[in-house]
Amino acid sequence: MVNLKNKIEQSNKKNISLPISRVRLIMKSSPDVSSINQDALFLTTKATELFVQHLAVSSFNNGSGKETNSLSYSDLANTAEETETFHFLTDILPKKILARDYLKSLEQMQEEEADY
């Protein structure tokens, strides 16, 4: 884990990679936002990078990927549901279930209702 921390610190030293102009475009699409000062723009861009790192690492640590050395979509969806700070992502990272499992659970629900 120490190596991981150093890696992240190193990448943070070379200021930012994400294009500020694109971040600005997204920010401006938000209603009621008139103008954004240069420092705020920089901070949002930097924060987004930190967020990407945080989401990736949290999902990886939280998930089953550690054995398989991989990060999958379901790791992300699970983390969004289980970790409070990522709750705002549950709409765009919904958990997926197989269609047949969904139909099965529908059937079960109908059977339960029939019993009443």
Binding site: N15, I26, M27, A47, F51, L55, G65, N69, L71
Partner: protein, 149 residues
């Protein structure tokens, strides 16, 4: 403003790089996971902007500033970002200051140059004035009239 949906996404290559640098070497990240993280990042920007904007509006300001963004991070419970953000901001501001000083210096050098040139013409004008003072008073009366007007 006609914005295509793709324009509100962040460049995939950069997102992928950030993910790879954050995870241990050799971790396999699925395409789906990468796309999802990219979308999550866009949502993060919107959420952070909306939150920061609330702070600005509370302070009756129309322009989002650094303080608003930092306050938003705290509100969103991303306090872990605060220290690295403040440090990065310091570095950024120094860089901006350096750029400003370079362009200020360029401007000053330009001014110096034109000052030297106007000094020459001023010397010539002063010599002219000295010559003019030797002429009769009629000239001065005319000048006074102009001043009154």
């Amino acid at each position: 403003m006609a914005e295509r949906p793709e324009d509100l996404n962040l460049p995939n290559a950069v997102i992928t790089r950030i993910i790879k640098e954050a995870l241990p070497d050799g971790v396999n990240v699925s395409k789906e996971a990468r796309r999802a993280i990219s979308q999550a990042a866009s949502v993060f920007v919107l959420y952070a902007t909306s939150c920061a904007n609330n702070f600005a509006m509370k302070a009756k300001r129309k322009t989002l500033n650094a303080g608003d963004v930092l306050a938003a991070m705290e509100e969103m419970e991303f306090e872990r970002f605060l220290e690295p953000l403040k440090e990065a901001l310091e570095v950024y501001k120094k860089g901006q200051k350096g750029k400003k000083e370079v362009s200020e210096q360029k401007r000053k050098d330009k001014e110096k140059k034109s000052d030297l040139e106007s000094d020459k013409t001023r010397e010539e004008e002063e010599e002219e004035e000295e010559r003019m003072e030797e002429e009769p008073d009629a000239e001065n009366e005319v000048e006074e009239e102009e001043v009154e007007n």
